[in-house]
């Protein structure tokens, strides 16, 4: 048998389906301990699923991307050599074409889609959303009363010890110590600190194992030394667990430094005007959550109110803002912001599959009924 025929075979289809099922079961069960986000990343958005054998990372199963890719090859090969392009097979052709688009759209979504959070308190105005768990080290020049100049250092750069050069800034940083997750609190007696400036001198840091479940967030913590040329300005403790930013002065300019959830800035602003949390009378069962926001986009000359409520998100500039959460005694509304350039693809895919299946099965059914009667 030629290779292409093997690739096009139903056997390979069954292997893919079987692997997909095992992967889905494993990925679902893993969510109990890992949380949805981490399980999704490890099982479905990966080429390979690993397991820890002692300290060794051993590949144990093909990941979602691998299974999808093999399946895709299988489908394309089937179109090339196995499927018969005849009228009686119309349904089969359409539905399998649909599956190809479906696999593609899922791949695009997994690689391109982006989700973040936008918490706004009543009356507040925001022009950015925040990443769920990805942190950044932010340096904000606050001397200009009109605008803050923000320099953001991504996690991958500050998550290990070593120097960080900052082009355009009159100083550089050295990460002296880094903790992916830590517990911070007032330093106990005898506890020494690496910090030589800021609040960090009075704070004790205890390293913790990183967490991944849905309701826990790592307290990313580190000690950063600020160098003006060769001269040290001091070592600061920075942590996502610290509330307020700390500041220092270089060449007469004030800078703030802190670790915060990674921000995505938008060219428009949203102001939370109202938030409603309706419950069914005499119960605490939520009936509806709704937020009235004021959207201002100077470039597009748009300034309007929008109501975001259950099953009715706001779609603007390729982003979907939906009511995800609330807090602070109903004074805070949290929107989830999803950006997915491939969001149209599943619609086409699914229409094709459903159409194909319907054509195929209905023709079978009519034939069956005709034969019986």
């Amino acid at each position: 048998m030629k290779t292409i025929e093997r690739l096009a075979s139903t056997q390979l289809t069954l292997v893919c389906l079987g692997l997909a099922m095992v992967l889905v079961i494993a990925g679902t069960l893993a969510q109990v301990n890992m949380g949805t986000f981490a399980a999704q990343k490890e099982f479905f958005n990966s080429w390979c699923v690993y397991s820890w054998l002692g300290d060794m990372k051993v590949p144990v199963f093909p990941g979602g991307l691998t299974v999808g890719a093999v399946w895709m090859v299988n489908l394309l090969a089937a179109f090339a050599v196995r499927f018969k392009f005849q009228r009686s097979d119309t349904g089969i052709l359409i539905s399998h074409l649909g599956v190809i688009v479906l696999l593609l759209s899922q791949f695009l979504t997994q690689t391109l889609a982006h989700e973040s959070n936008m918490p706004i308190e009543l009356g507040q105005t925001r022009n950015y959303s925040e990443s769920f768990r990805e942190m950044e080290l932010a340096l904000v020049m606050t001397s200009d009363p009109q605008t803050d100049r923000v320099t953001s250092i991504p996690y991958s750069l500050f998550s290990h010890e070593g120097p960080i050069h900052l082009p355009g800034l009159p100083f550089s940083l050295v990460i002296r110590r880094f903790y992916p997750n830590a517990q911070i609190g007032m330093a106990g007696p005898g506890q020494s600190s690496l910090a030589t400036a800021g609040i960090g001198m009075r704070i004790g840091v205890q390293e913790l194992a990183p967490v991944s479940s849905d309701d826990e967030v790592n307290t990313v913590t580190g000690y950063v030394e600020v160098l003006e040329g060769p001269k040290s300005l001091g070592t600061w403790l920075v942590s996502s667990g610290l509330g307020a930013p700390q500041s220092f002065n270089v060449e007469g300019q004030d800078y703030q430094i802190y670790i915060r959830p990674r921000r995505h800035y938008y060219p428009f602003t949203m102001t939370l005007k109202e938030f409603h949390h309706d419950i069914y009378p005499g119960t605490d069962i939520p009936k509806n959550f709704s937020s009235l926001v004021h959207l201002v986009d100077p470039a597009k000359r748009e300034a309007r109110d929008a109501l975001i409520y259950m099953n009715h998100p706001l779609r603007y500039e390729g982003k979907t803002f939906y009511q995800a959460s609330f807090g602070k005694e109903d004074r805070l509304s949290v929107f989830q912001v999803v950006e997915n350039p491939a969001s149209w693809a599943p619609y086409i895919a699914c229409s094709l599959v459903v159409l194909g299946l319907a054509v195929q099965f209905l023709s079978h059914l009519f034939e069956f009924v005709r034969k019986r009667s």
Binding site: Q40, P313, V353
Partner: protein, 611 residues
């Protein structure tokens, strides 16, 4: 002679059961001289919706003891009668054994040795209330999925005690007699005192202190009320019902006692005095008043009361058992008349099932599936419908047998789910969308039904191959064709349902697919059905292998239907879902056993292969 009798059997059976069904339509017979039924169909607001007190009574008792009646001194007390005692004669009600406790550690906390008796009275628990509460508070510090069996059980008991006490203080402060006089005194005499004092800003007098104390009592009632029986005085919209306590407090600013408050107080006095005439008279007057103020709610409560009373699902469940037996006996002899009887009765049972389903939809104003309970009702309904269609084509009793089995089992499951609370609960915010409930949820549920149907047909194939003397090639290939057809049907509907779910998610959250457990469960059914289809079409699986795979579909479906709700619940914790988990495992084991039967080669069976 026998022949003639047998020929008449189907019609006779249908008439017999139709008569039984019609008899159930008779007006509910009062169990005592008091007009309990009249009380039970009064409308009230609970859990965010208008319902009859009968539903409050049944739901509460199911929550407390898992049944709708309580046996006490050789007398069976209905939920309605129990509720009347609870709200009006609490000291009497405290003697009914309505708390089901079967956790030995919880009993240990109260110093009770476990015996065969699982039911305890409130009086039994009374000395231990503080301990129960503090233990439960401790337990509730752990996350629900991390609680031990004991922690879940004690927290559950505390919730039930709270429900019990709330019920007792909803219509009046527990233990008070002559409530009507009290309320009248309060509104006519004491209320105005308070108003004048407040107006003048004087120092509190003794009279005022008395008023304040009474007002505090009613304020307590307002706070703990389990249900809101007083139609709103303002606007009279559905959402403005209030508690009895609030009703009394509001009456300070109105002239005289508001009719609902007076009625419920007078009903209590009459119930305690066992004064049937006064009870009846108050009810009639109050119903007339309701009819002028909230006629829709009154009518709704009355309809739901009749629905509760008629128990259509219970009736169809019994008939499914009869159908199943008839279909099984048809394999042994008298084949034709028994197959026909089974089919006729199946259609009748299905009609009653449909009436129940449609009544629920009408009462709730929702598509058929809104929660786990209604999904069980609908899975059974759709499977029976498909079974009837199969039987119409094949007329060999197979459709009836399998349909009745699924109908019965799913209704049993539904029955056990009633102990989880109101089955017509309000939809939480994001689920409050009739369009998606009607499309996505219905398609997914049809997918469950049909996968169970194909799985059961395949199980029948594997069992009959070994144990049925009349097993032959035509039967085998008929079954095979049925299974294949239904697998196609399932693949289509589970795919469509899963996709519609994705579209819902995309429309609501901007995210088509999130790999969350419920989505993955649906995806599993699609993948498995597609697997079977490819294995068969590709010629890689022969008839018997396809049957084995179809039976496995039962396990896949059962896990995505229920297993997903149990995720994170290990065997270490306890409660309803854990009991259900054991059943789920047993079900899976039974299906694996049936699949194993399929691996017995043809030459090892007593007969030769069907060819």
């Amino acid at each position: 002679m026998t022949e003639k009798l047998l020929k008449g059997l189907p019609v006779f059976l249908v008439c017999l059961f139709a008569a039984w069904l019609l008899m159930g339509l008779q007006a509910p017979r009062p169990a005592s001289p008091m007009d309990i039924n009249g009380f039970s169909c009064l409308p009230t607001l609970e859990g965010g919706r208008i319902k009859p007190l009968d539903t409050v009574a049944r739901t509460s008792m199911l929550l407390l003891r898992g049944k709708q009646t309580v046996r006490w001194h050789d007398r069976v007390i209905s939920a309605d009668e129990w509720l009347l005692d609870m709200v009006y004669k609490p000291s009497g009600a405290d003697a009914y054994p309505v708390f089901e406790i079967d956790d030995p550690d919880v009993l240990g906390v109260m110093g009770i040795q476990q015996t065969a008796n699982r039911y305890y009275t409130f009086s039994d628990l009374k000395p231990h209330l503080q301990e129960i509460e503090s233990q439960a508070q401790q337990a509730e510090q752990a996350k629900p999925e991390q609680r031990s069996r004991y922690q879940t059980a004690i927290s559950n008991l505390e919730e039930r005690v709270a429900l019990y006490q709330k019920l007792q203080n909803t219509l009046q402060i527990a233990g008070h007699d002559h409530v009507l006089d009290e309320v009248q005194l309060f509104t006519e005499k004491l209320g105005p005192i308070l108003m004048t004092h407040m107006a003048k800003g004087q120092k509190p007098s003794r009279a005022l202190m008395e008023v304040l104390q009474t007002a505090q009592k009613y304020d307590f009632m307002r706070e703990v009320a389990e249900f809101y029986p007083v139609p709103g005085s303002r606007g009279m919209t559905r959402l403005e019902w209030t508690s009895m306590g609030q009703g009394i407090l509001d009456s300070m600013t109105t002239v005289g006692v508001p009719p609902p408050v007076a009625a419920y107080a007078a009903l209590g006095d009459a119930w305690r005095a066992a004064d049937a005439a006064a009870f009846k008279k108050t009810l009639i007057e109050y119903r007339n008043w309701l009819d002028t103020k909230v006629p829709d709610d009154l009518a709704h409560a009355r309809r739901e009361f009749l629905f509760n009373y008629y128990e259509p699902f219970y009736k169809s469940m019994i008939m499914y058992v009869v159908v199943f037996l008839l279909a099984v006996f048809s394999l042994l002899g008298w084949t034709r008349p028994l197959i026909r009887s089974a089919f006729y009765l199946l259609v009748l049972a299905f009609a009653v099932h449909t009436i129940g389903l449609v009544s629920r939809m009408a009462l709730q104003g929702r598509p058929p599936v809104t929660n786990l309970y209604s999904s069980a009702i609908f899975v059974g309904w759709a499977a029976v419908l498909l079974g009837i269609i199969l039987e119409r084509f094949y007329r060999n009793g197979i459709g009836s047998m399998v349909a009745s089995a699924i109908g019965f089992v799913t209704l049993i499951i539904a029955h056990h789910l009633t102990t989880q609370g109101d089955t017509m609960e309000m939809m939480r915010a994001v689920l409050d969308s009739n369009f998606w409930l009607a499309t996505h949820v219905v398609c997914i549920t049809i997918g469950y039904s049909s996968t169970f149907l194909s799985g059961s047909l395949a199980a029948l194939y594997l069992i009959r191959r070994l144990f049925d003397k009349g097993w032959n090639e035509p039967t085998a290939s008929d079954l095979e064709r049925m299974v294949y057809g239904i697998v196609c049907f399932s693949a289509f509907f589970s795919f469509l349902g899963t996709i519609l779910g994705g579209i819902w998610a995309d429309q609501s959250w901007g995210r088509f697919w999130g790999w969350d457990p419920k989505e993955n469960g649906a995806l599993m059914i699609v993948l498995w059905n597609v697997f079977i289809l490819h294995a068969r079409i590709g010629g890689l699986a022969k008839e018997r292998s396809v049957m084995i795979m179809a039976v496995f579909g039962n396990i896949v479906t059962a896990f995505s239907w229920f297993g997903v709700n149990m995720l994170g619940i290990g065997l270490h914790s306890y409660g309803f879902m854990e009991k259900a988990f054991v059943w789920l495992i047993l079900f899976a084991a039974s299906q694996l056993a049936i699949m194993a039967l399929g691996f017995i080669p043809d030459y090892a069976t007593r007969r030769s292969a069907p060819k």
